[in-house]
Symmetry: D2
Subunit: 401 residues, 4 copies
């Protein structure tokens, strides 16, 4: 165990990270700095201050990162139409690099030589935190208590709590049986009955959205305004990135939008079942594609589509702070310069239905596309040469056989 003087801990204020805060002080005989961020998880972060102080922490950082999270992480990712394995909108993955960045920045600011987090040794989050930290501060020491200690059962953990007099909230008993994570983009559920992929998720598990069955019988209509590939207004009202997401989460959740139940492949090697609620993200993905459909060049769109799975995988695997993600981002961002205009859509019982798109930068040319007389905008005879030359190699190939 190498020597550590001061460690910055990603601290939620909950039981696990409270135990870690104490354990770090005991085990490493080091000072602990806590860092708690509001990234839209829907819980108060201010109470973490008193809890930290009660654990003997002197330096406590509590920050509202919602706008930075939406603007610099979620929005750039949605420019890419990123989806992991065809289904997962990367809600947890995209929050980790921001936390890693702030952990490292606070370490720099407070003179800490280490960071620590509460992610287990089986999951992707440890990878995301640590690759981010190493990529931003190459000599940082990372402490991952779940890979080090022997408090691997809840009983041992609670014994440690009692033994060290760690203040915990009384509501221990009613805790959700699922392992959960939440931020502006989503809330996720893992573990418990979900560990059998044949078992349906319980109706009571879901927290952010009603089921499609329980959603209103009337559709909700929205008009989203885009600029440079990002939403800037809803129904004509300018909104900041975080506000856009909060608003879409609300109306999306009310209309049963954005539930997903899937088995995904973790970077650490196993398959895992997860359930997700991503109301805003589900709307944003569909609407962004619609906006691109009339403003983005065909081959630009196809290039993006072909590289999207790789981009999504990079984020899923924790490589946000890598040169290859920056390269792809540069490519994606430059494609969005004319992705602007309006998309009209309806939310109805789990469905996001596009009903219109318009743009001053539209590449849709009615005159050319029409089935009616186009007045010569397009010469149908050109198609023969187009087909003939494209067919030439196929004809030579057919003769080869």
């Amino acid at each position: 165990m190498s020597e550590v003087k001061k460690v910055v801990l990603a601290y939620s204020g909950g039981l696990d990270t409270s135990v870690i805060a104490k354990w770090l002080q005991d085990q490493y005989q080091c000072e602990v700095v806590t860092f708690t961020a509001d990234i839209g998880q829907g819980e108060e972060v201010e109470p973490a201050r008193a809890k930290a102080h009660a654990l003997g922490i002197k330096e406590v950082f509590i920050e509202d990162l919602r706008e930075e999270f939406a603007r610099d992480f979620v929005f750039p990712m949605f420019r890419a139409n990123a989806v992991y394995e065809g289904e997962y909108l990367l809600g947890t993955s995209i929050a980790r690099p921001l936390i890693a960045k702030r952990l490292v920045e606070i370490a720099e600011a407070t003179g800490a030589d280490a960071i620590s987090h509460g992610a287990t040794g089986k999951g992707n989050d440890q990878v995301r935190f640590e690759l981010g930290a190493y990529g931003l501060k190459p000599d940082v020491k990372v402490i991952a208590p779940w890979r080090e200690w022997d408090l691997l059962s809840r009983e041992k953990l609670m014994a440690y709590v009692d033994e060290h007099n760690i203040p915990v909230e009384q509501k221990k008993g009613n805790k959700s049986p699922y392992s959960m994570d939440a931020n502006l983009l989503h809330i996720s559920y893992e573990g418990n009955s979900l560990e059998d992929p044949w078992t349906e998720a319980e109706a009571e598990m879901w927290r952010w959205s009603v089921s499609p069955e329980q959603a209103p019988d009337q559709a909700t209509e929205l008009v989203l305004t885009y600029k440079n590939g990002d939403i800037t207004e809803i129904d004509g009202k300018p909104m900041s990135p975080a506000t856009v997401m909060e608003y879409l989460n609300k109306v999306g959740g009310e209309n049963g939008i954005g539930r997903a139940d899937l088995v995904e492949n973790r970077y650490v090697g196993m398959k895992s079942r997860g359930c997700y609620e991503t109301p805003a993200g589900t709307i944003m993905l569909k609407a962004h594609r619609a906006m691109e459909s009339i403003t983005l060049d065909r081959e630009a769109a196809h290039l993006k589509d072909e590289l999207m799975p790789r981009y999504a995988k990079l984020i899923y695997n924790g490589y946000w702070w890598s040169p290859e993600r920056e390269m792809l981002q540069a490519m994606i961002d430059i494609s969005q310069k004319h992705v602007e205009g309006k998309v009209r859509l309806k939310l109805y019982k789990g469905n996001v239905i596009i009903s219109g798109r318009a743009s001053d930068k539209s590449l849709f040319d009615e005159k050319i596309a029409t089935f009616d007389d186009d007045g010569g905008a397009y010469d149908q005879k050109d198609a023969e040469g187009f087909i003939k030359l494209n067919a030439l190699r196929l004809r030579l190939g057919a003769k080869q056989k």
Copy 2:
């Protein structure tokens, strides 16, 4: 105009191809052979026989290709989870190579030296028919009347009909205002009011599905059985490929599944608005991904995902009968050898909701994935080395800056 002795025409029995049948005889002074196929478009094909005879055609081919279409074209494509531009399930695209193949085979069988079709010079279908034909019979002559003749308005066409006494059905008047295409996989709509991408599709346009609003208030549950990546049973009942599709179209359509409204990029260069109903395909895509999610290796799945857009584009652009499509198909097919088991899902008002997946060949290992004690199935300490080595280059890169 080169000399043609006999031409095989893709003949629907409708007005346009009837005019073409007559025009070919007049213009090229050649014999015409008609070919009409049932590929699940939902209309009787047998009446085409009498119509063809009335036009003076001697050789008339009428065939039921539904099983071949589903088995050899649709099913292989769904093994790839193919979607064009994130939305379009390739319903029209996948039918054309089969028609092209039969046109060429009939040309060989009847000693014809040319083929002909009724696709216009603005669309993708001309490309798909012709690339297919050239790729299978390199010296074939292709006649595309819409690119040659001057009957470019409905008035001129009707004048030709009258002048040549072409028998047409009386229902001329009530014709749908949309340009439509249908087969086992979908029905499509283009033109008319859809030519403005801001205008919502009319409720009366849709033919195969009810709207989500009008779908039943009760979900329909299904269990699909897969073998080698293909559906072989529904609710425990073995079914042929075409039967699978007919059944899923029926229950899907009843539950408002599979409508899409989008702007796509045509191979010939313009953007075009299309609306589609693809009930079976929508269910099949979601279910196949679920089946793969527990039976397919992570990197095999990611390789498929990265190549899928290219595969979909090949089919969209008309390159089914090309060496590159065969190469990708070989790659995809070999990946499906263990994609087997069951997927349970619910259809509800436009939603396809996966509620379970199970397989004897499952790669999902509950023992490893569990949040509880795993008895040593996975050593959390391994994660440290995994992260450290993956981070090494990032750390060196950070020092470079």
Copy 3:
């Protein structure tokens, strides 16, 4: 034939484009503007002025574009390590977009409504000129005489020359039997005896380089200095991009570097045999890879490698002025910010041999790479976890079988 008032012609001063200049005036009854550029082809361009005047041309543009060509086209392409079909360094392809750009700019400046060029209907160059022109000036009219006129044999062409009194140089007789193209990056040969791919190219054909056999028995050593992925100095002497290329062409050619003899796939569908001399380019490709080998991150390099064939194909096919090329360029350029330092190499009888690379921004860490004791810079035990987690999916897969 649509009406044309003024056309800008890419004019070499040679026979073919002189005929075109006259033919355009006759056929279209329009004014002709000539544009002749020095892009390093090794021939005087100034004489084109008098020839143009003799043909009755009033507006004559003659420009030295060597620096622009090297700096804005060749150098950016070499940042990508671009090679078409594993062998071809894109010498002709990369010059066309610059010519297209100037044609269009001169058309704007002179109020011309059309452009014209001397490329045939079988080759790639027509595509490159025209896609460039359409992409920069969408309403431009393009006149491609070789696709229009009937002067398809040399006899007819010479008859036209005589008939119209077109001034041609006396050296007509000694003309090379090959179709050639040259610029700073290469000289190419096609046609004649090369049309049989089994026939070896004649020794007398080659113009820029000696054969390896005739090259000096002593190697020439060079040190190239890089900054942002571009060569800025040779042997410590700062040089402009065009000077770099001229210098490397000279020493490369003297050492038998850069000959290639290959069969390539044209965009218009056929295979074609070409021979190329690309001395500077051959050295630059090898040296740039060596510079990247110590300064570029692994995954950044691999991403570049995977996209390189697509980037090269875009340039080969004429899509320099396309959004997808711009996207890829943005991705490539951002990767080059630390590609700087020195590469030492030897040129010897056709071989480019790297003998050293060094950089202040090197990612090569001797302390870590060493076979000797590394003092803990790398913990070999980390490798076990790395392998174990990477193997996990393979082990689960092996059990599946």
Copy 4:
């Protein structure tokens, strides 16, 4: 340390693996089975038998795997034109999966529960051995002594040798200062003075080839015959795969062919300098591309080119025995069915110069490619439509700006 009963060791007969054989017996108190293979490294393998017996080994496996190595590993890899990072021909990488396969098969045959190898914790080979073993026998125990023991300096190793009376050859003193590896495909050098990438490799280091300077002044000409993408004859003489490689190594080495000096990116994270001699491989790569150039369809070739870096990376990283490599191989192999014919080439002082290619399955059509009158084989007017439709999106895009 888990219990091990019997371990199969990849045994070279050299010092290091002899120490390992003894150490395994001591440390694990287990039986050791040795496995020594001739894969063309150019050293006798039979002497390993006596050495193993002297170490107390009872089960000794000595095998000639040259044909299997060439036929089932090297040849399939060359069908892909595989090159890692633009330069490295994967000589070491491709041998490891065969060794891993035999280790596992011998473990099955002898009832061993573990395998062991002499690769260090810093290199790629440990990964290749172990991923292969885990992928073929998921429950195998792998012992990697270099990651476990404390014999990390040569002194400690020699002390162990003396202490345990391990028989070593007398030539200890003259050992090459480089870390080397050899098989039919290549010989490699790492370490020592190569650890500074600015330092040129010493002339005496190279073992298989003369330098270009010392190669004959006369070129050597060869004709290679291909079938299904593999070489089957040289100069008209049928040869087995291993014989092909031995022959080409000989003539290649004599002509100074196949030296490479490069810095590569290891999978375990660091950059490393390596020098390689790959005479046969260098010839095979160039010749195979030439054979494909006239027999492989353009888009098939481009698809291969785009996926090649990924395929090469899989092999470099040790994933030969993975589903994704099998998928890519299926794709590559199907592309080779018509890659047959002859390639003529010259070897001269480090250069491999293609001088001809011919095939009964050639796609090169002189009639179409010719600059002379083609008698209508290709209609130049088709090019206009081809360009016009390809330009349509670019023109719409230009108007957007």
